[in-house]
């Protein structure tokens, strides 16, 4: 049996698969960020808080209304998306003429307020949320035990990522969106309601974060800080992939999940920083990111 650097191939396979699962979260979250940045030029720091809200809304639906995981997978992103629409209408839309920094500060403030709100009412320890019954258990793959729910995460995230990519790059609606980014005045002149399109795009980006939150609820602690822990890594993913690049965000998300997974085998202490080391290198060598266009 061959061994690679003292690690049995079974173990390596297992770790690669786990990396792919974590990469799914990075991919869905960085995708939402990339969509928002690409079309609105807003660096959405509230993304982590919206991810956290997705998980909390799922918990609330279950505990206050008795609505289970599967409906929540649709409903929670809708709720989070709606709050995103509200935020865009009431606040963000006033900042487009200003520097990026204002949008970043505003969304950062919103994130802190949201976290504080949930912390105040639900505490910091987190809330229990069970894996849906249909997804309990798992498959023995020989080299590892793969919980059904983790497999579902990969499937769901791939569907959502590809769907989003397809919608933006290949459909008429996506073409309008991309055109509006290039020249909003001209697109508006063709009778398309550009501000509404932008509002809905932000709502969609927020809903993606909410969707990731529902996916995460059964396996990670549902607590107010879950997004804050995640968002910094996701920002690094977006920077490595190239700000605003849809396909870049997706590929880098999965790729960095794999890299992180491998680091956990070979040098676990470094697994929390490996993504940032890569970010630093990418910024030095190719500042626009792996898939970004030179500004």
């Amino acid at each position: 049996m061959f061994e690679l650097l003292g690690i049995a191939p079974q173990v390596l396979m297992g770790q690669l698969l786990l990396g792919l699962i974590n990469g799914s979260f990075y991919a869905v979250l960085s995708l939402g960020l990339a969509v928002i940045f690409g079309l609105l030029n807003i660096i959405n720091f509230a993304h982590g808080a919206q991810y956290m809200m997705g998980a909390f809304v799922a918990w609330m639906l279950l505990n206050y209304l008795g609505i289970g995981y599967w409906p929540a997978l649709i409903l929670a992103p809708l709720v989070v998306g709606a709050t995103g629409v509200l935020l865009e209408k009431l606040a963000l839309s006033r900042l487009y003429k200003l520097d990026h920094l204002y949008g970043l500060l505003l969304t950062f403030g919103v994130a802190v307020i949201l976290q504080g709100f949930f912390r105040n009412y639900y505490g910091i320890s987190g809330l229990p949320y069970q894996i849906p019954a249909a997804m309990a258990g798992g498959q023995n793959l020989g080299f590892m035990f793969l919980p059904n729910y983790r497999a579902w995460i990969v499937v769901a995230s791939v569907i959502v990522c590809l769907g989003t990519w397809f919608m933006i790059e290949k459909t008429r609606l996506g073409a309008y969106l991309r055109a509006a980014t290039e020249n909003p005045a001209l697109v508006g002149a063709f009778g398309i309601n550009v501000p509404r399109m932008i509002t809905l795009t932000y709502g969609f980006g927020a809903a993606l974060a909410g969707f990731a939150g529902v996916l995460a609820a059964p396996i990670y602690a549902v607590n107010p800080n879950m997004g804050a822990d995640m968002i910094i890594v996701v920002f690094a993913v977006v920077v490595i992939g190239g700000m605003g690049s849809i396909i870049g965000a997706i590929i880098t998300g999965y790729g960095l999940g794999l890299v992180e997974g491998l680091t956990r085998v070979f040098y676990p202490e470094g697994s929390a920083v490996v993504i940032f080391v890569i970010m630093a290198i990418v910024l030095l060598v190719k500042p626009e990111g792996l898939f970004g266009r030179a500004a």
Binding site: A8, V11, G14, Q15, L18, G19, I21, N22, G116, R119, G123, I124, S125, G126, L127, P128, Q130, I131, G137, G138, M144, F145, P147, Y149, R150, P218, I219, Y220, A221, N223, N225, M226, D229, M230, G261, R264, V265, P268, E269, S271, A272, V273
Partner: protein, 398 residues
Amino acid sequence: MKKALVLGGFVLAAMAASPVLAADINVKLGVLNDRSGVYADLSGEGSVVAARMAVDDFKAVDKGIKVEIISADHQNKPDIASNIARQWYDTDGVDAILDVPTSSAALAVAEITAKAGRVFINSGAASTDLTGAQCQPTTIHWTYDTAALANGTGKAVTEAGGKKWFFLTADYAFGHALERDTTKVVVANGGEVVGSVNVPFPATDFSSFLLQAQGSGANVIGLANAGGDTVNAIKQAAEFGITQAGQQLAALLMFVTDVHALGTQTAQGLNLTEAFYWDQNDATRAWSARFEKLHGSKPTMVQAGVYSGTMHYLRAIEAVGSTDSKKVIASMKANGFDDPLFGKGYVRGDGRAIHDMYLFEVKKPSESTGEWDLYKQISVIKGEDAFLPMMPQCDFTK
């Protein structure tokens, strides 16, 4: 003029008739802990509530002791904790600092307290170094420590047949201390440690580390971490079928709030060690019900420890009639305590409070009758067996 004289006479007469008022003592307590981060639920505002309850129950006002309580957020950072402690001692006239979870922050505050000549009654932190390698004459360590946890959960699991251990260790002072102390107990009880992995703190995904533990051939996975890390690790161990496959989890530090967060469905059957549980007897139930009314959740052992420690401190102030830290600490160490939450106990020369610890098992969902009905008691660990023996150089009563 005449009226004023008469009035003055009355006041003088009244003062002479009331000896307690003549000996008015002002005490200022500072509750320093995590108010917004991972340990906010197990300490935080709840510890302030507990300190206030102690002042009320002690009837401090009737005894001529005026107590003021202030609080601050150290964000689990030693540098912030140090700055606040210095300011409290130097400019705000704080007599004693209470709680201080996060071992690194607690060790910093212990040193500053010794220099300032005040009192530090720690409830929240775990490291045995507080009354060991870095002991101070002004430190009282009240509730628990890593040795007590190891002697509780670590010993019970090893004795029950869990001989081969693999540690998932939070990669900072506390995690390493807990792994070190537990390893000693495991080895002393005929077990062995087959491996460990240092997990960056804090972490969300433990699946990689759990898989490494699974492949190690160990039959016990020791979780040398706390709070959200422990919750995530246990949640994911259940998901990956670790326990069904025959490996056992040992959560070395877990608070009732963590178990509440996990739910009995996931946490059932886990062994854990605590100094206090709300549902132990009538006294703890009555106190916890009052606490819940004020704070909205059941108390953790850390919050109960703040109450109990504050009580003992106030009793010492009453006994010596001043807030002089040397006299007060001497009195705290000379006189035992017997309170409704921690039972009978005493404070050792090194500042370690000795009281019983309890080994609990998390109930099955079918056994639990309510949201907070989470534990059943397995055994009592006598205080003398729970804590490390005193280091001779740390006996400050000599």
